[in-house]
């Protein structure tokens, strides 16, 4: 039996104690992307962007959660290097086995998936961490509903992609 996923889960669970205790907030990631979008829009279109009602709610600035997402990149990078698993890859092997080795195809698919994910995460008010871990561990009703919908919808689409569409 491989205990690694449980040790990772144990670590994330304990980490959530500290986010509540020291920062007074739950683990979450998707708001950081909304703030970044706002910062990019502001750089392009100027301060008028700050008047958008959504960006009044989620002010485009670097906050705790933004730094958390940056930290994830760094933590995963260090760990991947130490595991000897760091590798610059365009096409993951499962994708390649079903859809071929075209980097361009994978990039296009990932981009479409990313847009849906960004839209859906903000629409649902949270992601796999904000709802899926932090909301469920607080026993929040909306979060338990969200995580079930995330997975049911994800499972159906994954089976369509790999069972029906894959050549």
């Amino acid at each position: 039996m491989d205990w690694t996923p449980y040790l990772a889960g144990l670590g994330i669970g304990i980490l959530s104690w500290f986010t509540f205790l020291l920062s007074g907030r739950p683990l979450g990631c998707s708001t950081a992307y909304a703030r970044t979008s706002g910062m990019i829009e502001r750089a392009i279109r100027g301060d008028a962007v700050l008047e958008k009602s959504y960006y009044r709610k989620f002010v485009p600035q670097i906050d705790w959660e933004w730094m958390l997402v940056l930290g994830i990149v760094i933590g995963a990078f260090i760990t991947a290097i130490m595991q000897g698993e760091f590798a610059l890859i365009w096409v993951p092997s499962t994708f390649e086995a079903a859809f071929g080795s075209s980097s361009l195809l994978r990039l296009a698919v990932a981009l479409v998936g990313g847009v849906l994910m960004g839209l859906g995460a903000r629409w649902a008010g949270g992601c796999t961490s904000g709802h899926g871990i932090s909301g469920t561990l607080q026993l929040a009703i909306a979060s338990w509903i969200a995580v079930v919908v995330f997975f049911v919808s994800g499972i159906i689409v994954a089976f369509l992609l790999y069972g029906v569409i894959a050549p």
Binding site: G113, V115, A124
Partner: protein
């Protein structure tokens, strides 16, 4: 339950620059755990959605069980308070369906995509992160219209399961932890 007026904790939480530093440190830890757990890999996430690799469920459920016990203990001691997201059918279910489509097509989520970038996945960076930023901007653009229409439909009580049933949190946490351990044992027994 009201939080104890722990002056030092309150000052710490209000110190913006210190919080940014703490966010970075906690993020590094989060990234280490996500990478160790294997959930920064497309193959693992798709394996979960295709139901042949249960790594994602193992990581999530064990995090939820451990987190739940500790966080509710902190609340009981007056050292933390709940932070519940509001929801409705229009937000949680509709948004959740869109999220699920993105989850399967991208093969990462907003947290794990950052970890995937750290481990060298270029599809995660140039497809995933860029796409999520575009998606978030689209939502910001649509927000006033959506908020006036679908988002408010079918309010979900913004409360917790114990509060909904009017029971002590312990009465839900203990069975929930037992259930999670049973599910994980079942997954191991089946060799998934």
């Amino acid at each position: 339950m009201r939080e104890r007026d722990g002056g030092a904790l309150q000052r710490l939480r209000r110190n913006q620059s210190l919080q940014r530093l703490l966010g970075l440190v906690m993020g590094v830890a989060f990234g280490v755990f996500l990478q160790l757990g294997g959930v920064t890999r497309y193959d693992v996430i798709i394996g979960q959605l295709l139901l042949y690799d249960f790594t994602v469920v193992k990581v999530m459920l064990s995090a939820v069980a451990v987190g739940m016990v500790g966080v509710y203990l902190l609340i009981h001691l007056g050292l933390a308070s709940l932070s519940i997201k509001p929801g409705s059918i229009g937000t949680t279910v509709l948004g959740g369906i869109i999220f699920g489509c993105g989850f399967a097509v991208l093969g990462y989520c907003p947290g794990t995509v950052a970890g995937a970038v750290g481990s060298g996945a270029l599809d995660a960076l140039f497809g995933g992160v860029v796409g999520i930023l575009i998606g978030a901007a689209i939502f910001a653009e649509l927000y006033p219209r959506l908020d006036a229409s679908v988002l408010q439909r079918g309010k979900i009580p913004d409360t917790t399961i114990p509060e909904l049933f009017g029971v002590h949190p312990r009465a839900v946490i203990v069975p929930m932890v037992i259930l999670i351990v049973a599910i994980l044992s079942g997954i191991e027994y089946l060799g998934l």
